[in-house]
């Protein structure tokens, strides 16, 4: 697969190849449009590379199975779309609480409910953030090209393994079904991180050790390695056993949040284009960012000072590039997204009253065209100049 020869690949296929390059050894899933190609390709590819595939009886079981396989020491992944993502949420919370590394791909389609199964949307931004209950941080990455579907899947595994947490790869139908000519990086160019192993003997191993330092995360022993430890979704102490002690409970919940916020700076940052002198910023992610990029280039060609901020990590939310934009006192920040306005909320929180934050929203599975974004840029510059 890898090498200098260009290949025509689909986003969903690139995700699978990226996962295999990252060391995926177990995939459990359930058919759902528009993510099904990921399961199909895993079924074909994994047994070729010493991995395993299982089509589970439902979405819930798929999420459970990858948690189990991960605890048995194998890199694990599942893939789904909105309705299935909803079903997985309880066990995603389990993976958060029990600190089980795994990757969950959500190829977004139109919702709510069954919605428009074959049509693109970006309506799971908030589900990805808050779909499971309780206080938790979660890492959500969003690719906007086929190549990035590959590279970000590798990154997702690295983050999952390093931070001992589920990582959501938030794709959309546009990127999942997009076919592009890509040159995949050579294996030697890829950074692949493997799980840290305990260096303490079984009697002293604390699977949920609190080092009082968010940079340090307890290594995860695999089942069958002789550590004989306990894993539970109940709030637990450093030894993994349930606790009803309010102090210990609060500390544990705080720790699994802090370990992620602490590493926010190490997560994939935003792609920026023409932001140095921009008067209008377009803030866009995933498939829609492709239109946004074209719109910003067209604006520049027409002499309009537009800039693009494309967050690659969606959650935790990257304030930094927006704070830099805010400091330039822009005329507007335009936020195109295929929903009624989700990522626009944290954008508004960061920008405040500095300038108008304009949502550009489209429903019904229709892509947002570059010209629509360009029009919004023009309008913002006109209004900004008038005021």
């Amino acid at each position: 697969m890898n090498g200098s020869k260009p290949k025509l690949l689909q986003g969903n296929e690139a995700c699978v190849e990226g996962a295999i390059a990252a060391g995926l050894k177990f995939f459990a899933g359930y058919p759902i449009t528009p993510s099904t190609e990921i399961a199909e390709l895993c079924a074909a590819r994994l047994p070729q590379v010493g991995g395993k595939f299982l089509q589970m009886e439902d979405e819930i079981a798929s999420m459970a199975a990858i948690c189990g396989a991960s605890l048995a020491g194998r890199k694990s992944m599942t893939a789904t779309s909105g309705p299935g993502f909803s079903l997985k949420q309880e066990n995603i919370g389990f993976a958060v609480e029990a600190e089980i590394p795994c990757v969950v791909v959500d190829v977004q389609r139109v919702g709510p409910s069954t919605g428009m199964p074959t049509s693109a949307a970006q309506g799971d931004v908030m589900q990805a953030r808050w779909g499971t209950h309780g206080d938790h941080e979660i890492v959500v990455l969003s690719p906007s090209s086929v190549l990035e579907a590959y590279t970000l899947t590798v990154t997702a595994f690295n983050i999952a393994e390093e931070l001992r947490t589920p990582v959501i790869l938030l794709m959309d139908e546009m990127v999942g079904h997009l076919r592009e000519k890509v040159v995949l990086p050579e294996k030697s160019e890829l950074v692949v991180r493997d799980r840290a192993k305990p260096d303490l003997p079984p009697g002293q191993y604390k699977p949920y050790a609190d080092y009082g330092d968010p940079a340090k995360i307890a290594p995860l022993a695999a089942f069958g390695e002789g550590y004989k430890y306990h894993v539970t979704g109940l709030t637990h102490g450093e030894d993994g056993f349930p606790t009803n002690n309010p102090q210990a409970g609060a500390t544990q919940i705080k720790r699994i949040n802090d370990k992620i916020t602490y590493r926010k700076k190490d997560l994939p940052q935003a792609e920026e284009l023409f932001t140095d002198d921009a008067e209008v910023f377009v803030f866009s992610f995933g498939g829609t960012a492709r239109s946004a990029k074209k719109a910003v280039r067209d604006a520049r060609a027409a002499g309009l000072k537009a800039g693009l901020i494309r967050p690659v990590t969606i959650w935790p939310f990257l304030e930094e590039p927006l704070l830099k934009a805010k400091a330039k006192k822009p005329k507007a920040v335009i936020v195109p997204e295929m929903n009624l306005g989700q990522i626009v909320r944290p954008v508004k929180r960061v920008i405040g009253d500095t300038c108008p934050v304009v949502g550009l929203n489209k429903l019904g599975g229709q892509y947002i065209e570059p010209d629509e974004i360009l029009e919004a840029v023009k309008e913002a510059i006109l209004r900004g100049s008038a005021s």
Partner: protein, 275 residues
């Protein structure tokens, strides 16, 4: 003779949370005795549970243990077994966990014949939430959500697993402790999916509502309804009413899933896949 408790239990975590006279400690002991007598390596044995009273058992057991979400122990265990088929994977579940919220997983694990041993601590009630009826509550029994008596029809869990293709199925009770231990031993030795319906007693939330005032009353109630499997088929429907067979109910060996998948891997490596 006496079980080496320190080897199999996290003795520092005892006494357990179960009520006085609860059958779950009896069934848990039967499992560790079966493990002891079978000679399973504690370092290569994983115990997985869902949510409910039964599912607290692994916390007391000195193995790699996983206490998951309600109803989902079997798919978590499925992932473990797929990832590392060398491990012995035992699932401890309750009747609400296995037959209600997790019913789908139970039948599919049986269909796949994945090498798990599932022991259902079946006390026909939701104990942890204080006595609501389960899909196993006998008709006419009282529960906090059946104040006028159970009005739904219960499952026969063994028949359900049999219908799903289960190839090793056994049943026993917390009264028949030696028999129960033997059933679990046979299940542990079986390579494919094995299911043991272990009838247990909940004196607190089932017994008190159903005129079975003591743990002994409850065990005697289990004893009086149990019929050896060898006699069961000769009984008339009237004689079977209110009773259940105990013993090995199904034993039809079939190739275990991870073994079958091993063949898939060989084929995939050779053919390079068709997709």
């Amino acid at each position: 003779m006496a079980l080496p408790l320190e080897k199999y239990l996290r003795v520092g975590k005892l006494p357990h949370i179960w009520c006085p006279g609860c059958g779950h400690g009896i069934v848990t002991q039967a499992i560790i005795r079966a493990i002891d007598e079978t000679g399973l390596d504690t370092e290569e044995t994983v115990i997985v549970s869902g949510i409910g009273c039964s599912s607290r058992a692994p916390g007391y057991m000195n193995f790699d243990t996983l206490h998951t979400t309600h109803g989902r122990a079997i798919p978590f265990a499925t992932g473990i077994k797929m990832a590392n088929p060398e491990l012995n994977v035992i699932v401890i579940t309750g009747d609400g966990d296995a037959a209600a919220i997790g019913g789908n997983h139970l039948i599919h694990a049986a269909r796949r014949n994945i090498g798990l041993t599932v022991v259902c601590f079946n006390n026909n009630i939701y104990g942890m939430t204080s006595g609501q009826y389960s899909p196993l509550t006998p008709r006419g029994s009282y529960a906090s959500t059946a104040p006028y008596g159970m009005f739904e029809r219960p499952f026969d869990l063994c028949e359900l697993v049999k219908g799903a293709g289960g190839s090793f199925i056994a049943r026993s009770t917390a009264y028949h402790t030696r028999h129960l231990t033997n059933m679990i031993k046979e299940a542990l030795k079986y390579e494919g999916f094995s299911f043991v319906d272990a009838l247990s007693q909940c004196p607190t939330y089932y017994g008190r509502r159903n005129r079975l005032r003591t743990p002994l009353d409850m065990l005697n109630w289990l004893r009086d309804r149990a019929v050896p499997a060898s006699s069961w088929d000769k009984m008339t429907p009237e004689e079977k009413d209110g009773k259940f067979p105990i013993g090995i109910l199904v034993n039809q060996p079939s190739t275990e899933l991870t073994k079958v998948y091993g063949e898939v891997m060989v084929k995939a490596a050779a053919e390079g896949g068709r997709g």
